[in-house]
Amino acid sequence: MSQDYDVLVVGGGVVGCAIARELSRFKVSAAVLEKEMDVGLGTSCRNSGVLHAGFNYAPGSLRAILDVKGNSMMDDLCRDLKVKIKRIGKLTVALDEEDEGTLQRLLEQGRANGVPGLEIIGKERMQAIQPGVEGFMALYSPTSSIISPYALTIGLAENALANGVNFHLGQQVVSVTPLAGKGWEVGTKSGERFTCAVLVNASGLFAADVCRMAGITEYSIYPCRGEYYVLDKRLDGTLRALIYPAPKKNAPGLGIHLTPTVDGNILIGPSAEYLNDPEDHSCTYDVMAELRREGKELLGEIRMTDYIRNFAGIRPKQTPPEVGGNKDFVIEDRKDAKGFVNLVGIESPGLTSAPAIAEMVRGMVEKHIPLLPDPAFNPVRPGSPFFFSELPADERAAMIAENPNYGEIICRCEKITKQEILDAINNPLGARTLVSIKYRARASMGRCQGGFCVPRITRILRDEFGWNPEDFLKRGGSSPMFVGNVRPKGGVSR
């Protein structure tokens, strides 16, 4: 027995969830198939969280058009979805003569792309924005911003869900077969079957694999890993804007830089290394040493005790390392496969472009099925973009008096309350892993890395939700936290 939908979106990353949310405006039945136990666990949660202004892309390219459009949509979107965004602006800094020419070229390119507010500024204004910044000249882009990429992904998914899109987590697509009449039959690893009129391939690192399942063989994905360091919040405030060096030709990325996060940390990275395995999220000795070296050069105040964590994200590149560079997005309504809307190589600026990509995809879906607006669509997601600890003391006191759970602190480093933990556990998508709680409530992302909160969260899940040791999964079925009890529950029976 298969589940039938008008539209199936394969891939629950920020792009897939943005598409789902866009489709939920209409009276269509839609579902997202996501192979992990939660949304956004691929590339979407593993990047710098930067919303790019759009001056780095060739005019007329999809990256240019969709990034600028997406960036302009973010204020409304974040307001509606209750996602924190900080429009901190960016300085792209010239360190030598070659860079000066690059900045001029970027300014013209940005203007051609319709990037608002771009200007070249000199040392004085640079110092006013970021005291102590290196360089004699910079391109200032006020619309460059930072956001939590997993908060955005979750926000999009939850709003799509509230508006009627189904999310099938833990469903890895293994077969895509055209249906005689119209549309597709999709089979998953667990043996489930789905059918749809239109299939949207938003599977990121696996886009080429899903293409091949449908008989489309011209694409290949070349995984390119970027490693990061997360720095302690002690340094919060030292970076007031994004500071990037002027880009050099043919680099696979934008180079190692420091990025402040919307929650007060600083990221060093990303590096760039081509791999075979699209899921090898390891961090390596040499790259970490390089990140430390570069980080210290960029920000002298960094101490050894400031490094609190490493992670890695993988870019779905379309060209092999010998070729390098950055190809444009592939977003196409396949002529040779009716009802197959294909997205390939959505790396940076995929995050910024996501809402605009969703609109473009909607336009393609519309060619196949009528999309009638759903008057019941509610763009607003309940909740707050802020963590409880970010609210003023008086407000907190009042909320605590009404709901005692707000007074009980579970994550000491990040000051996360029991109510926020409970909300994360009870998330509408039904994601039931430790990282799901982490990405929603921020617990375990502080300097003690879960040493204080994880035992307490364990106790809550066990005592209040009835979990047994084997139910505790870090990210999914293959990552159990524990192996059992020390002594049998309820004692030894005689």
Partner: protein, 130 residues
């Protein structure tokens, strides 16, 4: 004949004591050197011929504010008996309340000691972990 080097634990001095041992199966000490006092010599002999240990473990408790009560042996037991004592401890189960010092197992594996509770566990609403 073999030689073992031990760090004495009788006092903070921590003398390095070198012991000559005959027959590693049932060790017999033939010579002791390096101790600064007779207590060290006695300890070294005991440590080689019949090492004594205290152990600590846990026993599940029903109806308490903790799922487990920590327990320990009051006096040292032979190292060779640890496995057997642990097996006996694993069969135990208690009801709250439990007082510190209460005997949960007398003469474990026939040794001259008791296993006592080391945490106070109050009777409480059922704790899901117990």
């Amino acid at each position: 004949m073999s030689t073992r080097e031990l760090t004495c634990v009788v006092c903070p001095g921590g003398c390095t004591i070198v012991v000559d041992v005959d027959n590693d199966e049932t060790p017999v000490v033939t010579r002791i050197q390096g101790n600064n006092c007779p207590r060290g010599e006695a300890w070294a002999r005991q440590e080689v011929e019949n090492p004594m240990r205290t152990i600590a473990s846990s026993v599940p408790v029903r109806g308490g504010d903790f799922p487990l009560v920590s327990v320990r042996t009051l006096r040292p037991i032979p190292l060779t008996k640890i496995r057997e004592v642990m097996e006996e401890i694993r069969t135990l189960s208690l009801e709250a309340p439990v007082e510190i010092g209460s005997v949960v197992l007398a003469s474990p594996a026939g040794c001259d000691t008791e296993v006592v509770a080391t945490r106070r566990v109050k009777a409480a609403a059922p704790c899901a972990g117990a």
